[in-house]
Symmetry: C2
Subunit: 117 residues, 2 copies
Amino acid sequence: MSTFGTYVRDRRERLKASDATFSVRQVAQRIGVEPSFLSKVERGETPPPSEEKVKALALELGEDPDVLLALAGKVSSDLQEAIRKRPELFATVIRELKDMPDHAVLRIVREVRDGKW
Amino acid sequence: MSTFGTYVRDRRERLKASDATFSVRQVAQRIGVEPSFLSKVERGETPPPSEEKVKALALELGEDPDVLLALAGKVSSDLQEAIRKRPELFATVIRELKDMPDHAVLRIVREVRDGKW
DNA sequence: GCGCCCGTGTACTAAGTAGTATACACTACA
DNA sequence: TGTAGTGTATACTACTTAGTACACGGGCGC
């Protein structure tokens, strides 16, 4: 069963409880797909939609686009592009950091952002 | 015209100059595709092959797989998986580092690798 | 009891992905 | 002169992606 589908359904139903405009039909219309398609996606009958639709859905549901894309098994195209522009560098960075704890990685990034280098 | 194709053709021809086993046919056979397919790929008549074949080609030509994948417009699946496992963290890291000069980024990686965190 | 919105089932499709299989003309060499 | 290897043209295919179009039956309100 699709994690993406159940996650989306759960979030949408939660919002719908206090706002009727979060029906399958209306959300589908707002993100630009047919209701039947969103329905199938939520039930995992069809694989997750395109990056564009997932991002629209994230915006609609108030979720982090990168997280929702990850659940859809995708990586945002702007990240991919950044990697493709300097493949050796970013391949090294990611492989080096992938087993590090979050706090270590974030601390480093903060140092860099604060211009300490 | 395909950068990937011309790059591969160039590398292969260079190797062929001193080693006749780097013909289209023989390289194709070693990476597991039909010669006609590799020929079309090199001339940009067909889009770059799958990640698997690109990696095999990189190995064959003595090139960096991540660089060749980048030329093919792809990002290695192991990197994608690392990002998907911690999407918020890696999205932040990449977007934060993408405009930094190489030396700053590499310095960070070195610090991490040397276990200073 | 009619209209309206709800979620969903069924059927279909256009475009892209990732190639294979076969045949052809050319060159080298022995 | 024939045969072995070279690159390429042509035709075809199975699978995946990313959806649309339309119809159906069910419930709520007035």
